[in-house]
Symmetry: C2
Subunit: 358 residues, 2 copies
């Protein structure tokens, strides 16, 4: 599948009636056709019917390109997704859930969803997408806490361009965002483990460039502090949210298992990787330790024992992000930062048979 350049072919075969043709057939002016189709201004019912009939006869369809050009609005909302060759992020529960939500909301408003893959190597220039008029607003997924990213978003923000971040919040920057209450979710998960008598809880975190990683770390620590125990920082590990990284970490964690009675993982995939890796070392969920994941992706109920996990309303977050961008676009007042609640879904992975360790 080679590289190629954009070339054009004439659109043949489709007879494209233009507004002029309809006007002629209906015996009215072109402006009237527009009025009917855009439902704008006063119009005599009789005229309207005449126009509609003529349009139907000619199989007229307004040219979206010309409309966009005339109004200066593309009708597209860009969704920026980080692209890593080999890893198709899109297939993660995480991205696809958000994307579906965005699609649902945009569909209601006659907006198109333009997917834009952003390679981490190419320089980002979100503003340019607006300047070229390709998009009217954008939603940024998978943003990280790095300087360049922040600068780009700052530009968007200062120019008051309609944008929204999803699942990423920058400390000290009042950017538009829709996020979930990850600190709380993490707090709940770890608190549940503590309540159930697990005291030595390892935490497998993801990269700290993501605010949700930081927030989960805070939740983990808060839960300990809440019961008057100093958080065991020696039990905090870091993966990269892939199942593979969970497997890798299991090698590091296995030697410590005699002193660990539960594990909380920053997402389900790492949790499952751990589960698989540790079982090779003879440690089994439900027998030797309790396990809680995060995201409540569909795999949580596919593994044995089923995984307790924190559900994140990804679909709703996507919907809300889209709604927010559309509101910004229309000049409506919007709440700058939204936070949706998460829900702890209890499953078998927190039942442990053996005597509790200390």
């Amino acid at each position: 599948m080679g590289r190629c350049t954009r070339v054009h072919k004439v659109l043949e075969g489709i007879s494209l009636a233009k507004r002029k043709d309809v006007a002629k057939l209906a015996g009215v002016s072109e402006a009237t056709i527009s009025r009917v189709f855009n439902n704008v201004g006063p119009i005599r019912e009789e005229t309207k019917q005449k126009v509609l009939k003529a349009a139907k006869t000619l199989n007229y369809q307004p040219n979206a390109l010309a409309q966009s050009f005339a109004t200066g609005k593309s009708g597209n909302i860009g969704v920026i997704i980080p692209y890593l060759p080999k890893v198709h992020l899109l297939s993660t529960h995480y991205f696809s859930g958000i994307l579906s939500g965005i699609g649902i909301q945009l569909g209601k408003c006659q907006y198109n969803l333009l997917v834009m893959f952003q390679s981490p190597h190419e320089p980002k220039d979100y503003v340019q997408l607006f300047r070229s008029q390709k998009i009217d607003g954008c939603i940024i997924l998978g943003a990280k806490n790095d300087e360049q990213e922040i600068k780009e978003i700052e530009r968007l923000h200062e120019l008051k361009l309609p944008y929204c971040l999803v699942n990423q919040t920058y400390e000290g920057y009042p950017f538009h965002s829709v996020d979930a209450k990850h600190t709380e979710g993490s707090f709940q998960a770890v608190s549940l483990l503590l309540e159930k008598g697990f005291k030595r809880i390892a935490f497998i975190n993801g990269p700290l460039e993501y605010s949700n990683s930081m927030e989960r770390l805070k939740g983990y620590r808060d839960a300990y502090l809440n019961v008057g125990i100093e958080p065991p920082s020696e039990l905090v590990f870091q993966g990269n949210y892939s199942r593979t990284s969970g497997i890798q970490l299991s090698t590091e964690i296995a030697p410590l298992m005699s002193n660990i009675d539960a594990i909380f993982s920053g997402n389900d995939r790492m949790a499952i990787g751990l589960m698989q890796g540790l079982s090779k070392h003879g440690y089994h969920v439900g027998e030797d330790y309790a396990l809680i994941g995060y995201d409540n992706s569909d795999v949580a109920s596919m593994v044995q024992p089923q995984l307790t996990s924190v559900q994140v309303p990804l679909l709703e977050m996507g919907e809300m992000a889209a709604e927010k961008v559309l509101n910004e676009l229309n000049g409506k007042s919007v709440v700058l930062q939204e936070r949706l609640p998460v829900t702890l879904i209890e499953r078998a992975s927190i039942q442990v048979k053996k005597e509790m360790r200390k």
Copy 2:
């Protein structure tokens, strides 16, 4: 998240230099600017540099909308995805894999990917998308064998509009498509089971509206016939490719398990549903029966025992579909129907401890 209508806000804050401004500053005509930016026609190097400098000074960026309008090409390829409320198909390995592939290929060619959700209730009108000039080509995912769908695709085909189906082939219709060798994949999977001594193999199929379901059925039957055994049609069941349907079918299948020694499922999710359902009835993969799934989605290696599965090159199919549409668009000759090979990935789920049944 309410309904809303598309409204417009003026794009403020971004100073949009136009071609005219650049021309003025560079002291050349507007046509020259276009020549430089489109790399067309002869141009003196000196002039070119002058133009580029002026463009940079003014931060000039050609207006994509105007370009599209002038050329009559949107630069968008539409990807049509069936939309079912509640079920977010996008999150399936299947759709997201294909979509990623499409995105990769389109990115290389400077085309945009326009995602269009198609509710099964709304009437389809693919041609209209072209007439409105929203898209220059389209890729149809998840098409089913129904009359309306076929008619729509026929229209696209007759009008020679650039389109491509993915993973769906219509018997007797020479539509553009990229598909995988499902008959072969199924044949291989069932043959492997037969070779290993399993004789009573149940087949859990998906809806027959999908050609790949039909093909897998054929592969299943062929594998039996190939070893001179009449395919046991009483062991063919039908789900809907969801894990839930696998669980449901397990109730139906459990009573027959004394006469079944292996199961082949049309996808991994149903396989896992079955696995879960049957274990509640006391039948366990690796002890009481062998199991093979299909798709080789990431969940295949998350369950215990890991699932043998047929890998489908979804990413490559997406890439190829995109490439095909772009070639049609550019008038290049294209192979009408492509079929990519599949690969059987062997994992633990086909090792069975107990004595073979007959």
